[in-house]
């Protein structure tokens, strides 16, 4: 009788234990990818169907869930350009133009498959709600829905490595259901300071057949910045932050 009761209790408890908390997984993904406030260098490589490449190097800083600045260090034609993101608002400062102009998340300051929302990405939890979470053999599959219409992608399908709690593949969809791009996270690297994450993100898009873009991370570390840095007035001086 005791055994039967125990079995019944186990059966009742099983769904609760197996239920996945997608929001908790997404929060862990956010923090495992980057510290909440950090500085990093990134190289973006755009590869055309004929194999020709164009490279950009950016110095990036982030504070909190939704403040990001990216400064172009290469190529020479883009050097000194700086982009700022505060929540859903984005600006681009060009030294020649001399004042920041508003840009949108769907544009790309580099002209690559990575758009401004990818380059100035804030926490996934700041932009998306988890609709469903599904456990697969080696990954969790999270279906994410944008919190507002201002978010670049209406829906994301995110495959998360079960052991590392890091994204493996993300598919980004428009509100119409059209697949806009696929992001593949590769090359897990120890950046030091307890940060271990993919150092390479590759993306391709059915809208740009034959084209590919790659984002490489280096020098990622925790850092703290004052709020005044994340302002339009500071954008022309962002390059002075680098050590």
């Amino acid at each position: 009788m005791k055994k039967l009761l125990g079995l019944m209790l186990c059966l009742l408890a099983l769904p609760a234990a197996a239920a996945l908390d997608g929001n908790q997984i997404l929060q862990k993904v956010d923090r495992n990818l980057e510290p909440e406030s950090y500085e990093a260098y990134r190289k973006l490589i755009d590869i055309q169907p004929d194999g020709t490449k164009k490279e950009y190097v950016l110095y990036t800083i982030k504070k909190g869930r939704d403040k990001v600045v990216a400064l172009f260090l290469l190529p020479a034609s883009d050097k000194g350009r700086a982009t700022l993101r505060l929540e859903d608002n984005m600006w681009l400062y060009m030294p020649d133009v001399g004042r920041p102009i508003r840009i949108t998340s769907l544009q790309s300051v580099t002209g690559s498959i990575f758009n401004n929302a990818d380059i100035l990405r804030i926490d996934y939890t700041a932009e998306y709600n988890v609709e469903t979470a599904e456990e697969q053999k080696s990954a969790y599959l999270l279906s994410l829905k944008a919190k507002t219409g201002e978010v670049a992608y209406d829906k994301l399908k995110m495959w998360v490595d079960k052991q590392l709690l890091l994204p493996v593949t993300i598919e980004a969809y428009a509100a119409s259901g059209l697949l806009l791009k696929t992001l593949r996270f590769k090359d897990i690297k120890d950046f030091g300071g307890g940060i271990k994450r993919p150092a390479t993100i590759e993306t391709d898009s059915p809208l740009y057949k034959g084209y590919k873009s790659v984002m490489l991370w280096s020098g990622l570390k925790k850092a703290s910045f004052s709020d005044e840095i994340f302002t339009l007035n500071y954008l022309p001086r962002v390059q002075e932050l680098r050590k």
């Binding site: 608002n89 001399g98 949108t104 005044e228």
Partner: protein, 435 residues
Amino acid sequence: MKHGWRTRLFWPLVLLASAAGARAAEEFSFDSSEFERKSFEIGGYAQLKQEDFFFNSGAAFYQLNNFDQPQRERLDRTTATLQIAGKLRHGIGTFDFRTNSDQAWDQLGHYYDNKVFEAALSIRPDPGLTVEAGKRVLRWGKGYAWNPIGFVERPKDPNDPQLAREGFVMVDGDLIFNPGGDLQTVAFTPVLLPVNEDINSEFGASGHWNPAAKLYLLYRGTDIDFAWQGKGSRPARYGMDFSTNIVSNFEIHGEWARILKFQKPVVDSGGQVITETGDATSTLLGLRYLTASDTTYIAEYYRNGTGYSEEELRQFYEFIGAALAQLGQTGSTALLQKALSLSQGSYGRPYAGEDYVYLRVQQKDGLGIVYFQPAITAIVNWWDRSYQVTPELLYTGVKNLDLRFRLSFLRGDASTDFGEKPNAQKLEFYARYYF
């Protein structure tokens, strides 16, 4: 040995795979230590530009500027430009500069122009405080083609608004606060701009320390600026601007400025000049819209409070006609000199009318070619319906090289804004290499 033939058969493939692997590793390697900040940096660009001007020999401005010159149908000009920008850092201080050198050749001669666009020392004791002294470009306003609140800058060319311009010598500061909540940012920019015979003489009357200031607010995602310039070398003025996103791909902006006791010389067809004094109010409203297919539309309406009405411009063109007639009849250039003097002032501004509409449409990756951007820009004088249309092709697919081709058409009836400009067409091509 048993598998020797297989090894021999496959070794080229193995080598190829290894090479491909090595290449992949090579092309995807990245070490941030290569990008450490240097205490001295230098860069810039070299540009070669070819321009062909096709004149409207019947236009008032052409005849006025060339009444004592052989008449020409066209002029071909080649311009070589070298722009150098650099930074020198030490502690909390940075000295930065930007110089511009032009060498130009056309059928009429050889010209050169060397300018220091910017050269200023900045001190930043704190991220929220910067003090600068030197020659600096401060660009105020949210308008793409025009900036009514651009109080302390040289006018920009609406047909090429992104062109670097020369600054003014000034002392300025930046105080930034982040109060938090709905008011995300407050930034205050005070400016002191001296004018004497040697410094900033183009700004206005000598003998003044011109104070100016801008207060920037980021309030609930909307940029708002309040700008002011005190009375000095120029009449006092104040204004404001705003910019916000209605939705992520649709931005609206506006500017409003009032110049107090603005003096506007107005000439009648007989050459009598009356100086009208009054407050001049300028307004700009604009939008920027990005479609799902990466087409950007920029549209602006500009009410130029310091501009001339259709009738006032017509009277000026008639005066030029009368001055030329006097030259033909009596050989006297007295009226022409007067007309020339007026044309070098407010009548000769590129956009001297009252109401303009600006429209630019640009397509990213046009014709499916990555880094190729075709665009077309139109500027219309709203009242006389004269206009300027500029189709443009830009290619940036080669590393550090910009190639741009433009063709401008200016059209309008007699006695209209663009109909009386000296050029009927202008063809332009440049190759710009950044280093």
